[in-house]
């Protein structure tokens, strides 16, 4: 039983968790530098040249 449990634990991939953590930290740094405000500023404006008008 214990052996089975050990095998199951071994088969868990850790790479996804490390990847998610790295990007989570990046996102948090972005939030602390105030990038969220900049994103909102851009997203609420119609970018006419971006959509091919103007």
């Amino acid at each position: 039983m214990a052996k089975k449990k050990k095998e199951k634990t071994r088969s868990i991939r850790t790479a996804p968790f490390v990847t998610i953590l790295i990007f989570l930290v990046m996102g948090m740094i972005g939030i602390t530098t105030g990038e969220v405000g900049r994103v909102l500023e851009q997203a609420v404006q119609v970018c006419l040249s971006c959509i091919g008008i103007g």
Partner: protein, 297 residues
């Protein structure tokens, strides 16, 4: 399973485009939800859009990076890349199959009866060029006298922007029609090209041009949720080849960058339980139909 996926695609497309006051306001949604990242390609200049497009926003941040630094603001796109990376780390290209509004549109177009064609595999690599150059390098390095770059992919290529934002905005604001020029007709041509191609081939934009798909495909071996090939059950019958909308030969390359985890191969094609869904290496699901006994292999 396919019906469930279609429902989820539709619900997520409506959630990403949940502001329906635009016929009265005649402009885009400008509320606080726009700090939420759209997992799929969904233009934030779409009048109904309640989320930001990661590709559009990343280009804008790259284009304005010099001016931001000059003003003492450290906006390097970390919030956007971080969000995209978390989504990529959890789902990878599963997002393309389950949460992208433009992917859903292409799937619906492909249902139109016509002769169907395959897409040469070499064309799949073009999207990495667009991710690197049109989303990152050109907006970053080709700048005007004031230090501002341009959103190259949005401005010159993105057919999703033309369909979801360009055409609706022209309808909502007739005065904009006077400003229509070669840029718009260039993008309209690209849109028409992809509409026709979507009828004839499965998901051509996702496979050849989408920079967001290219970004998510970088997580092919790192994503939390993915399909697993159970080699001991596989009979090499190649039934999975026929149903894949992305042209993946799953039994030959289970870690294929093009796999959007739509589960068609697992649920519709494989009769021998040779394909299963796993989360972080732990199998969590197999097809919903009963398994054919091993003796029938």
């Amino acid at each position: 399973m396919e019906a469930v996926r279609k429902w989820i695609q539709t619900i997520l497309a409506l959630l990403a485009n949940g502001s329906w006051s635009f016929p009265f306001t005649r402009t885009i949604y400008q509320g606080p939800l726009k700090v939420v990242c759209s997992p799929g390609l969904n233009c934030y200049s779409c009048p109904a859009s309640t989320t930001y497009c990661p590709i559009g926003t990343l280009q804008q941040l790259m284009a304005g990076i010099r001016v931001a630094i000059e003003n003492g603001q450290h906006f390097y796109g970390l919030y956007v890349i971080g969000t995209m990376g978390v989504l990529g780390g959890i789902f990878g290209r599963l997002i393309c199959g389950w949460a992208c509004p433009f992917g859903l549109i292409q799937e619906l177009l492909h249902k139109i009866p016509s002769r169907k064609f395959s897409i040469p595999r070499k064309l799949n690599y073009i999207k990495y060029f667009f991710l690197l150059f049109f989303v990152i390098l050109l907006p970053l390095f080709v700048v005007d006298d004031f230090g501002y770059g341009e959103a190259w992919f949005c401005k010159y290529v993105c057919p999703a922007g033309t369909l979801e934002a360009g055409l609706p905005m022209l309808m909502l604001q007739p005065e904009l029609r006077q400003t229509v020029g070669i840029l718009f007709f260039n993008k309209l041509t690209i849109l028409i090209f992809f509409i026709i191609w979507s009828v004839l081939a499965s998901r051509p934009f996702c496979r050849t041009l989408c920079p967001l798909g290219a970004f998510y495909s970088l997580f092919k071996g790192l994503k939390l949720i993915k399909l697993r090939h159970v080699e001991e059950n596989c009979t090499q019958c190649k039934a999975c080849h026929a149903v894949c909308p992305m042209g993946v030969k799953f039994n030959e390359s289970p870690e294929d960058t093009e796999c959007i985890s739509c589960l068609k191969c697992m649920d519709k094609a494989c009769k021998f339980d040779a394909i299963s869904l796993e989360i972080a290496g732990i199998p969590v699901g197999q097809r919903s139909r009963p398994r054919i006994p091993v003796a029938s292999k």
